[in-house]
């Protein structure tokens, strides 16, 4: 009798452990994806989007120096949306101030608070999970130089072009410098840096993806064609 109970308990323990793996690799994604959708919809309610999107300009236009959001120091405040067509035509993830687990485990991408805002000279640095909790940056290793990474804020769309990837140890804070890995340098360019864990199912190292801003356009100019469908989907979901 006692042996039978012990055996049943051990079988139960095995099932619970398997369930824990399912929770971590699958359930957390469901919860985070839903929270991310809600965050994007809440943010879009604040966006002053043109009701009648203008025809995309045939030639690239120059809108001058980008308008930049004031720095956000309110941890947990979602202020932007990132679009990466390489990750899927409908890929979008909210960007929220802070890189603690409260942000990253629920809301996709977290902005390192001390780094620049999107469009500013310096380094707009963002962290995201590679597995679990929405795995916002799971396909980070599939980026190809020249890929576009778009950031949308209340001011406009910032178009960054992916340049290269680096794999570093977790203590390499210099990748967050205004000029990545050159802490002493004075920035003249607008960088975007993505950090995630490496290897895919581990966190012994960090994988870092760098991009440099190419152009920007205000919200009322309409979204860049490559992300128009994803922006429209976010906008219609918010109503």
């Amino acid at each position: 009798m006692a042996i039978q109970v012990a055996g049943e308990l051990l079988i139960t323990l095995g099932l619970v452990l398997a369930l824990f793996v399912a929770w971590q690799l699958w359930w957390t994604n469901l919860e985070s994806n839903q929270a991310q959708q809600e965050a994007i919809h809440t943010l879009f309610d604040d966006f002053d989007l043109p009701t009648d999107p203008p025809e995309p300009a045939s030639a690239p236009q120059d809108y001058g120096d980008p308008v930049v959001l004031p720095p956000s120091d309110r941890e947990g405040e979602t202020f932007g949306v990132v679009y990466i067509p390489r990750f899927g035509a409908d890929y979008s993830a909210p960007v929220t101030t802070g890189v603690g687990t409260a942000v990253l485990d629920r809301l996709g991408l977290g902005h390192y608070p001390a780094t620049a805002m999107p469009g500013a000279v310096g380094n707009f640095a963002v962290a995201g999970h590679r597995q679990t909790h929405g795995k916002a940056l799971d396909p980070i290793h599939t980026l190809v130089p020249g890929d576009h990474i778009y950031v949308q804020t209340a001011d406009g769309y910032y178009d960054y072009v992916y340049r290269n990837t680096q794999i570093v140890m977790p203590d390499r804070v210099d990748v967050l410098a205004a000029v990545p890995t050159e802490p002493a340098a004075v920035p003249s360019e607008r960088f975007l840096t993505l950090t995630s864990c490496n290897p895919r199912f581990g966190s012994a190292e960090r994988i870092i993806a760098y991009a440099v801003m190419d152009s920007w356009q205000p919200l009322n100019a309409g979204p860049p064609p490559a992300i128009a469908a994803a922006v429209a989907a976010n906008a219609s979901g918010g109503r």
């Binding site: 929770w23 999970h129 966190s203």
Partner: protein, 56 residues
């Protein structure tokens, strides 16, 4: 243990099967919603998903 529990559930067979399913579902939900997040939070498991630089 589970055999004993099943025999002591009230009602005819189909009620007991249904009750078992409800109890299992409740246990799974409690684990998913409360126990597992707490285990992950209390960090006696090494994190394999830390994606930040500088250990913040």
């Amino acid at each position: 243990m589970y055999g004993w529990l099943f025999r002591h559930l009230p009602g005819p067979l189909w009620v007991r099967v249904l009750l078992s399913a409800v109890l299992i579902a409740a246990a799974v939900l409690a684990l998913m919603e409360y126990v597992f997040p707490w285990i992950a939070e209390s960090s006696f498991l090494p994190s394999f998903t830390d994606s930040t630089i500088g250990g913040s």
